[in-house]
């Protein structure tokens, strides 16, 4: 009996160590959607000659990529795409440094394009293959090109703030007297410091270079009302849905997905902070040429439009907007009136300053 128990226990401990690995892998990426780890589009039965391995963030974004980009690309080029999720920079760096590159194209945060290039991890893109016309200029780089845009915006509970009575800018978000209730902010300095400065009255066009001292002083004012500092994108929609907080800084696509599922929440696009994901090619991949072709295909207006029709994240290719109906553009925050009041985050500034500010941010949180 005891022998049996000991054996079962060992078996279970093994199972636990495995599940724990899986768990940590997911949680290690704040941007990964919880859920599907790996989506493998069915390969075409005939005529498949090549294989391309793509790494992205997983979950809903992968599903949208699959429909809008991977499947049409497979058909057009007789390629089988294998998807690996979520994006993991640690794995990326280890892969390139060991010279054992098993991934051909990776969807990364746009700041990683600059950081990765500095660490010599990326292949230079071939702009004779990739057409960059119409792509947002901030997201065109020698080593990477924009994949999709997301807005870090004000999100609110519609039961608490019905029909237009919600905070419409970061100053109002900071105003706990007029808009009482607990808040949630992103446990990450990029975006959060911009919001703090906008709340303090800095004009959007004068944001950069960020006045860091002023940003922290502004954060001091709201600290006691921030109930949760979130670090996974799935948290704000959940916190808003169960009433744990009434206002949150959140990614627009997450909120609109929750809204479609019936959660009482909505996004305010005014003063939303636009950030982008990018496609990059790890240095030393054997399928470089095919990877270039893939990126060229992924940023083309038709695929960009198809992607944004599948999920509420905006295209990086401005030409794709012409292909989208007004209703979709409204949801993306890309209708003419909504687009002009959003602010593009200056990635270059953040790349230079991130490490010191991140340390200060962590220190500030512990105070």
């Amino acid at each position: 009996m005891l022998k049996k128990i000991a054996l079962t226990f060992m078996g279970m401990a093994l199972a636990v160590s495995l599940t724990a690995c899986g768990g940590s892998n997911q949680a290690s990426n704040p941007q990964s959607d919880q859920g599907s780890n790996e989506v493998k589009p069915a390969a075409q039965t005939a005529g498949v000659s090549k294989e391309l391995v793509v790494m992205d963030w997983g979950g809903a974004i992968s599903e949208a990529h699959k429909k809008a980009i991977f499947e049409p690309f497979e058909k057009a080029n007789h390629v089988k795409i294998t998807l690996v999720s979520p994006t993991d920079y640690g794995k990326f760096k280890a892969m390139v440094q060991s010279g054992n590159v098993g991934v051909d194209v990776v969807n990364v945060d746009s700041d990683f394009v600059i950081r990765g290039a500095a660490q010599n991890l990326l292949e230079k893109l071939d702009y004779s293959v990739i057409n960059k016309d119409g792509i947002l200029k901030d997201l065109v780089n020698d080593y990477g090109i924009g994949a999709e845009l997301f807005s870090t915006a004000i999100a609110y509970n519609t039961d608490k703030f019905p029909a237009g009575s919600h905070p419409k800018n970061w100053t109002e978000f900071w105003d706990v007297k007029k808009f009482p209730g607990p808040r949630s902010l992103w446990k990450y300095p990029t975006g959060t410091l911009e919001a703090a400065l906008l709340a303090d009255g800095v004009k959007p066009e004068e944001l950069y270079p960020l006045d860091v001292d002023r940003a922290f002083a502004s954060l001091d004012k709201i600290k006691k009302d921030v109930k949760v500092w979130w670090n996974a994108g799935a948290q704000p929609p959940q916190l808003l849905a169960n009433g744990e907080v009434v206002l949150a800084e959140a990614w627009n696509g997450r909120i609109s997905t929750a809204k479609k599922e019936g959660a009482p929440e909505e996004v305010e696009f005014n003063q939303a902070l636009i950030m982008g994901d990018s496609w990059v090619i790890p240095k030393g991949t054997p399928n470089k040429d095919l990877a270039m072709k893939f990126i060229a295909f992924a940023v083309a207006p038709e695929q960009q439009a198809a992607f944004s029709s599948n999920i509420d994240y905006a295209p990086v290719n401005q030409k794709a907007l012409d292909l989208l109906p007004d209703k979709v553009k409204e949801n993306l925050g890309q209708s003419a009136d909504k687009a002009k009041n959003q602010i593009v985050v200056n990635i270059k500034w953040w790349v230079e300053n991130f490490d010191t500010i991140n340390e200060r941010f962590e220190q500030w949180l512990l105070k």
């Binding site: 005891l2 022998k3 128990i5 000991a6 079962t8 226990f9 279970m12 401990a13 199972a15 636990v16 599940t19 724990a20 899986g22 768990g23 940590s24 997911q26 949680a27 290690s28 990426n29 704040p30 919880q34 993991d88 920079y89 640690g90 760096k93 950081r115 660490q119 446990k187 921030v226 109930k227 949760v228 500092w229 670090n231 996974a232 948290q235 959940q238 169960n242 009433g243 744990e244 991130f354 490490d355 991140n358 340390e359 962590e362 220190q363 949180l365 512990l366």
Partner: protein, 300 residues
């Protein structure tokens, strides 16, 4: 461990032969050296490369990264918080696990014993992430725990159980409890119940018999369980990341952040090295504190 004790109690013959085996000069040492060499090999070869990163960068040897850790107050503060949380979790798991393990040893009915075993082990089957998110549902202000307490009338305002140290300790205790229960059980099962009976037969009240006989004999289990939970607790990051507040930063969260987000592997490695050295120091410290304990001496 359970297996050996079973043999020693039930099959004295094999115990004796094993004893004889260890009497052969040379072999005794080999039995010690082979497993230790194996462990050292596994530990060092996987870690040497990692720790090299903390003192070597492209410019050669440097103490820049380690110095940085001690110069910036944030790192020492996080280290202190990590030790504090691991200690509190060890204490709560010990307090909860002891009665459970004791019940498992005492209970006569096999069916009930199996039932308790299953209840303790089921959490092992479920993903850590799922369990942690389940706690956010239970502990929130409108959650079942606060609702029940309010309905019963014990509290009038919801108690904050989430996004603070209380939440982290509840979540981590739940995750680490099985390790403690099983460590305690394996030792308690080997305690000869007749000793307690003898004490009672000589006039000790059950309480006194427990305190003077059973409790000291179960000390090795408490110790091994506590060390296991404490060390596992030091390395946790998913549970505190989700259930904790801004003030519940753990060192592993900083390491992970430096490995995967900022890609500062040198700093991550320096942090890992500091955590590793502190863990070793604590192990030695606990060894020194307990080395003169009579029961443990007997064990060795």
């Amino acid at each position: 461990m359970i297996d050996t004790q079973q043999q020693s109690a039930g099959r004295p013959v094999s115990w004796v032969s094993l004893n004889k085996l260890t009497k052969i000069p040379g072999l005794q040492w080999l039995l010690l050296i082979i497993p230790s060499a194996y462990i050292v090999f596994l530990m060092f070869f996987s870690m040497i490369d990692l720790f090299k990163l903390s003192i070597f960068d492209t410019n050669g040897f440097t103490l820049k990264y380690l110095a940085h850790l001690f110069a910036e107050p944030v790192y020492l503060q996080v280290l202190w918080l990590t030790l504090k949380i691991a200690f509190l979790v060890t204490l709560t798991t010990l307090l909860i696990a002891y009665p459970v393990a004791y019940l498992m040893v005492k209970i006569e009915s096999k069916a009930w014993k199996n039932f308790i075993f299953t209840a303790v082990l089921i959490p092992f089957w479920i993903s850590l992430l799922v369990r942690t998110f389940a706690w956010t549902v239970l502990l929130q202000e409108q959650g079942i725990i606060n609702k029940t307490l309010m309905t019963v009338g014990l509290i009038h305002v919801p108690i904050p159980l989430l996004y603070n140290t209380a939440g982290v300790i509840i979540g981590m205790t739940h995750v680490l409890l099985p390790y403690m229960v099983l460590s305690l059980y394996s030792v308690m099962e080997g305690i000869d119940q007749r000793l307690v009976q003898a004490a009672e037969g000589m006039g000790a009240r059950p309480r006194k018999a427990f305190m003077q006989i059973f409790l000291p004999l179960s000390l090795p289990g408490m110790l091994s369980g506590s060390l296991l939970v404490f060390i596992l607790g030091l390395g946790y990051f998913i549970t505190p990341a989700i259930l904790g507040g801004s003030k519940n930063m753990m060192i592993s969260m900083l390491i992970q952040n430096n490995v995967s987000t900022t890609l500062n592997w040198h700093l991550a490695s320096a942090l890992a090295l500091v955590l590793f050295v502190i863990t070793l120091l604590l192990l030695f410290l606990s060894y020194f504190i307990i080395r003169n304990h009579s029961v443990l001496k007997e064990m060795s």
